[in-house]
Symmetry: C2
Subunit: 134 residues, 2 copies
């Protein structure tokens, strides 16, 4: 990643604080580990910033490409229909161009978390924690 | 984990196949990596096995403890209210005893995935994949 890249961590949002806490916490961990990446958040429902506000929040950062990453475990109506519509991304192209600070910025839509050893490892870790605290 | 342990991977369920595919895929990865653990799945809505069927599916496996792990990113109404009610676990004790094959089996309820470096790493990986396929 040579050009200046932004990651917009997309959250579902919830009336409870937990979904926003997780998406924000994950965004902070990415930001801390990859200091050359500009990380922001945006929520679909019930929390702020909204996804559009999240995109606006890259103003002044100089990013040339933003990858919108759904912090969702799996595809569903939200990731396949609602979010592409909010971001103005067709499901075929999976990318578009937006204007920030009068410049063209590429917006790319990534896959959600999905099946991965990292999720399996974390689920196993939560099971071990529950056993040991028990 | 010396005694024979079971992990019940709990999924939300969906009218789309993706949620079940992810929960089932993650359960398979845990099972492949930790061959001494008996791994099963159970879904809250719209998919089978149900959570109760998932518990029943440990019959004949000889597990003495089952950890029910919500394959959910964050706590919410489902993890805090619906699932404990389905599993018959009080939110204070976070554990109960169930009968399988006429024996007492301890059922422990773990935390969902939550904020973790592993989720941050996976989100970053999905962003990189979207950039490179682009």
């Amino acid at each position: 990643m040579n050009e200046k890249i932004g990651i917009l961590a997309l959250g579902h949002g919830s009336k409870h604080p937990h979904n926003k806490d997780v998406v924000t916490g994950v965004a902070e961990l990415i930001s801390r580990k990859y200091k050359n990446i500009v990380v922001r958040t945006g929520f679909m429902n019930m929390n702020s910033p909204t996804m559009k506000e999240g995109l606006e929040s890259f103003k002044g950062t100089g990013v040339s490409t933003i990858v919108a990453v759904p912090i969702f475990l799996a595809h569903g109506v939200h990731t396949m229909e609602d979010i592409p519509q909010i971001l103005g991304i067709s499901r075929d192209s999976r990318e578009t161009i937006i204007k920030l600070d009068g410049r063209d910025v590429k917006l790319i839509y990534s896959e959600p978390l999905g099946v991965d050893e990292l999720v399996a490892e974390l689920a196993y870790k939560r099971a071990k924690e529950a056993l040991s605290s028990n």
